[in-house]
């Protein structure tokens, strides 16, 4: 056929060097996933504090900062571990470059973690007053908890700032991705919203795990948040996957995955497991309160979110840049 003789369609690379394909791998996926939990629980808890009496969620005041603290430390740990020169992380604080979203994010995440730590200490001091007064034998911990207990009101004063700060801490990864101009799939304004939905999804899922003693109404709210978050997140993934604005490179990336290329299975597995199934499971528990089913939905959502983030992180990195 004549079109096969057109030179432009028959340009073939016959010699080139080989370079590693995927540069940001599973550690960055885990980093983003953990951050979603760390900030998401703050958003969801703030809403629940606003909507319900504290007695309806007896452990939320201390469980929220504890979950967030653990997740943020996983996030920070893998941020550090992913660096090829981990000890030089300090350079971000000694020689900050403020045009970099990595720098701004590191500073904000550090401040956020500090504030969450304060909330956690106060929350634990209030919850386990007797233990820290009589049972605890470590003097510095005892005095710290005593001090925290005396300043219990600080929790409510700090919380609004923590909620406010959680927004940029959630979204800055999208700005890092936007600055990663070699990966056109990430150059989409939808990434910011995708981060926010992921946080709501992960935050509600994480809190569902500790909501066994909560009132039915509070748990119903959690199920509703999870349902809404997975629905809109799924809708955005589908929009981006099938018919979003696409640059040439993003188009090529998605066309490859559409055609059954690498990560196609993981993507759909993540969509069904983490978005479609939890949506139906969570909505079904809103009428008939079923803690076990809701927890199952939460676990699926967390697993599915990891898979979806993993695919979205890796696929644009498969495209040769030159």
């Amino acid at each position: 056929m004549v079109e096969h003789t057109i030179n432009a369609t028959h340009a073939v690379v016959t010699l080139d060097v080989a370079l590693p394909g995927i540069i940001w791998g599973w550690m960055i996926t885990l980093n983003m996933w953990a951050k979603s939990i760390g900030t998401g629980v703050v958003f969801v808890a703030a809403y629940l504090f606003f909507r319900h009496r504290k007695e309806a969620m007896p452990n939320l005041r201390w469980a929220m900062p504890v979950i967030s603290f653990v997740a943020l430390n996983v996030f920070l740990l893998f941020t550090l571990v992913d660096l090829h020169q981990p000890y030089r992380m300090i350079n971000i604080f000694l020689h900050p470059h403020w045009t970099s979203a990595i720098t701004v994010g590191a500073w904000m995440a550090s401040l956020f973690t500090l504030l969450i730590t304060i909330l956690m200490v106060i929350g634990l001091a209030d919850q386990f007053t007797e233990y820290f007064k009589r049972g605890c034998r470590v003097a510095p911990v005892k005095s710290l908890m005593s001090f925290a207990g005396k300043n219990s009101g600080t929790y409510e004063k700090i919380l609004p700032f923590v909620v406010f700060l959680a927004v940029p801490v959630t979204a800055y990864t999208a700005i890092i991705m936007a600055e990663s101009s070699a990966r056109e799939l990430w150059q989409a304004p939808t990434e910011v919203m995708q981060m926010i939905w992921a946080a709501l999804m992960a935050g509600s899922a994480a809190l569902i795990m500790v909501s066994g003693s909560w009132s039915q109404e509070a748990r119903k709210d959690l199920a509703l948040i999870l349902s809404i978050a997975v629905f809109f997140s799924f809708a955005m993934y589908m929009g981006e996957y099938f018919f979003s604005f696409k640059s040439a490179e993003a188009e090529a990336t998605l066309a490859y995955v559409h055609a059954g290329g690498e990560y196609n299975v993981e993507f759909w597995f993540g969509m069904v497991l983490g978005f479609i199934a939890p949506f139906f499971l969570a909505t079904s528990t809103m009428k008939n309160d079923n803690v076990t089913l809701l927890r199952f939905a939460a676990i699926l959502a967390l697993v599915g979110l990891y898979l979806a983030k993993d695919v979205w992180l890796k696929i644009p990195q498969m495209l040769p840049l030159s």
């Binding site: 028959h10 016959t14 080139d16 080989a18 000890y87 990595i102 600055e179 101009s181």
Partner: protein, 248 residues
């Protein structure tokens, strides 16, 4: 002063002399390249031709790598060169994600990002970059693009309409120009990678340490272990399965 490069692809004969000179001049480790020459075959037999495209850092005026670097390890010199301070680099690989030209690599020996610096150390001493000196056909033209009388400026003027840059749509304002190139040589989406070199790389992951026998903990222990004990042989055994599977 704004230093720039121009490669006349009509002259380049793919001898890879520039690639070797760069390796030697800058001690570029195995499995890494600051400058490479890609061969592309065009047409169908018997009407075929082969083109050679030297690829290196574009020293963009609006460099995404400089913008994303969290510690200013990548920075501009006064002469327009985008330089790397490997002592400051934290190895986050953000620059590798930002560079649309795939020009930055993670040095497996220092575990820091590195790339072509237009041989900044030679420029400082009044010398030309190693790849320019070694080119037998003077296909590499280097100089001040802000000086109307420089060779590169004259060359650009003489070839107006035929001067191209890679990925102009990225608005990086590269200071690396090509004459005699076409979409098929400069656009990675316009050529195929057959025999395993298909459009997409097979899944390979960047090793955090070039030595596959080193794990995560080794990065933390590295400052306490001597570089002298580095087993260079293991770099020779670096997992190169991706060579058959595809590269950038």
């Amino acid at each position: 002063m704004k230093l720039g490069f121009l490669v006349d692809l009509n002259l380049c004969m793919g001898c890879k002399g520039c690639e070797v000179a760069c390796k030697v001049e800058n001690d570029v480790p195995l499995s890494s390249w600051r400058l490479r020459v890609k061969y592309i075959d065009i047409g169908t037999f018997p009407d075929t031709s082969r083109s050679f495209t030297p690829l290196r850092c574009n020293h963009c005026e609006n460099a995404p790598c400089e913008r994303i670097c969290p510690v200013s390890a990548l920075h501009y010199l006064e002469n327009g060169i985008v330089n790397v301070d490997s002592e400051r680099c934290i190895g986050c690989a953000g620059c590798m994600m930002a560079c649309p030209y795939g020009a930055i690599y993670m040095d497996p020996e220092t575990n820091t990002a590195d790339k072509c610096t237009y041989c900044a150390h030679r420029i400082e001493s009044g010398m030309m970059p190693a790849c320019v000196v070694v080119c037998p056909v003077e296909a590499n033209i280097f100089g001040d693009v802000e000086d109307d009388h420089s060779h590169i400026s004259q060359y650009i003027m003489a070839h107006q309409g035929g001067v191209q840059v890679r990925k102009p749509e990225k608005h990086t304002d590269p200071k690396h120009y090509y004459v005699g190139g076409g979409t098929y040589t400069l656009d990675p989406l316009a050529h195929q990678r057959l025999e395993g070199h298909n459009l997409f790389n097979n899944i390979t992951h960047l090793k955090h340490n070039g030595d596959p026998h080193h794990g995560v903990l080794d990065r933390f222990l590295a400052p306490f272990t001597s570089h002298g004990t580095h087993d260079n042989k293991s770099f020779m055994n670096f997992d190169n399965t991706h060579e058959q599977e595809g590269g950038h």
